[in-house]
Amino acid sequence: MPYIDQPLTLEDACNWSRMIDLLIAEKPHWKPGSTHGYHGHTTGYIAGELIRRVDPQHRSYGQFVRDELDKEYYVGVLDDAVEARVAPLFEKAVEKKIISIC
């Protein structure tokens, strides 16, 4: 399930329960085990929802990681003091080339 086979908006991608509903409704795009493909985005929702469901406290992925792995690893920044320190990303031609290869 490397992608949802319908156009999505940024609001969709940022809405966890919406993405999980879409993934539950999605049919596998090939016969499982017959081939493979990089799951650029869906892997995060799938693994995150698995963790949320098996965690007795049903924490979100971001909360689980901060509590259990490292308090400085953010998936979802809600603190303005942290947000102010996030370095901006820039795309450069050399990086585009890397993306096109792998």
Partner: protein, 131 residues
Amino acid sequence: MSMIYDKTLTCSGALPLEQPKMIYNESQVHRAELPAVNGITNARSLAKIYSLLINDVNENGKKLKCLLSKNILTQAITNITPAGEPDQTLYNKTTSFSKSGFQTYGDCFNIFGDGVFGHTGKTIIFKYLQY
């Protein structure tokens, strides 16, 4: 948008790449939980998490226990992708993934050599807080 590659890498158009404005810098994207693409941290935190998969870690005199047994780690990082199998969503390049989803040594991830695991590390994957 129709190509399987585009749908995979842009979350079906929600997070387009190569735009004049980098969407991953938007505070709306920073606030959302997108585990595959918006892990935000610093180098020390990232190194600590990966180190904890391999061994115990001494953090300022405090011993942190390794997260995985050697048996689980071995299973988690062993390539299970048939040699030379084209990746359906990455331009049919040959990629290699383990059972747990780590990228493993192969054509597309050939630094460090055998035993390496993780991700090739596109710029969209990790960002670092500036200290």
